[in-house]
């Protein structure tokens, strides 16, 4: 029994609590036992899925949105299809609220919110704090704001015209 043997060896050195803190040791199962457990789990799982509420679905989808934003921030290049406004629009779709309802929830003017969703206007940090609270702290203000930082990093890297225009105004630069 492969796991049992290792467990016994570990028990010579660690308590059960210490083992749980640092490991998951599975039970040794025969193929027959595995099949039985799987059958039992399938039935229980399907039963639980039938009991899924709309709130469960919303919370799970908000979590998925959070992971999508995190992955985009960490692993992807900037895209105009993945802006603060676009993700805010997705958040509204998930929570099944209209722009008017969410504008009221967040104490933001409806027109301003619509302009932000359509990327016609930039959000401020205050809106990130409000969205954090609105999402039940599932999507933190820092994460919302990183979408703005990513956008501005991209814009700065591309905007040679403004770079030249502004740098013409500089006197006595360091000779590096």
């Amino acid at each position: 029994m492969k796991y049992e043997k290792i467990y016994k060896k570990l028990r010579e050195k660690y308590s059960d609590k210490e083992i749980v803190d640092s490991m998951l040791i599975p039970q040794d199962l025969t193929e027959k036992e595995k099949k039985e457990l799987s059958k039992e789990m399938r039935e229980l799982r399907m039963q639980k899925l039938r009991e899924t509420t709309e709130e469960d679905m919303i919370l799970a989808d908000v979590m998925r949105l959070r992971f999508q934003i995190e992955n985009y921030i960490k692993k992807e290049s900037f895209s105009f299809e993945k802006t603060f406004g676009k993700y805010l629009g997705e958040y509204l779709r998930i929570i099944k609220k209209s722009r008017r309802e969410i504008a009221e929830d967040l104490s933001v003017h409806y027109t301003k919110l619509s302009r932000i969703i359509n990327d016609k206007e930039e959000p401020n940090i205050e809106l990130s704090y409000r969205l954090e609270k609105h999402s039940g702290i599932l999507i933190k203000a820092e994460l919302w704001w990183k979408l703005m930082i990513k956008k501005h990093e991209f814009i700065i890297s591309q905007d040679q015209e403004t770079r030249i225009k502004e740098q013409r105004k500089v006197k006595n630069p360091l000779r590096a």
């Binding site: 492969k2 796991y3 049992e4 290792i6 467990y7 060896k9 570990l10 050195k13 660690y14 059960d16 609590k17 210490e18 083992i19 749980v20 803190d21 640092s22 490991m23 998951l24 040791i25 599975p26 039970q27 199962l29 039985e36 457990l37 799987s38 039992e40 789990m41 399938r42 229980l44 799982r45 639980k48 899925l49 899924t52 469960d56 679905m57 919370l59 799970a60 979590m63 998925r64 992971f67 702290i137 599932l138």
Partner: protein, 155 residues
Amino acid sequence: MKLLYRKTQEEFEAEILEVKEKDYKVIKKSKQFQFDWTKEKSNHVFKIVKSNEEKSEILGLLSIINISEELRIHINLIENSNDNKGKLKKVDRVAGCLLAFAIQLAFEKGYLGFTSLVPKTELIRLYVNKYGFSQFGGQLAIERQEAIKLIQKYL
């Protein structure tokens, strides 16, 4: 995600990466793991390491199975490196982060965070108390609100 040096209580950034073929040699050579991780190759195996370090030591390992027909992620094995086991461990939160990562995958796949495991019978009560798992017949599982709590704590 953040791990914690136990002695200094200083936090540091860590990341979870897929284990590649060359990692198995490193795992074996390190003598830091009690289980034979090459036996997990047919599953999805991940390692947790300190971020932004070229040859970062493996602090813990996770082996999972995606059981799509039952909309669940099954955790087959988790193990911290020997340096991070017991009272004298160097780094805290390793196993919790690996567990929360498996749950994250279960959310990303649309399984409502449903993550299962079959721990040794003697340890079931401890997994229930520490992580909030519930009994599903002969298996333990976590999902929905309890799963979110673990993610909020560790990721």
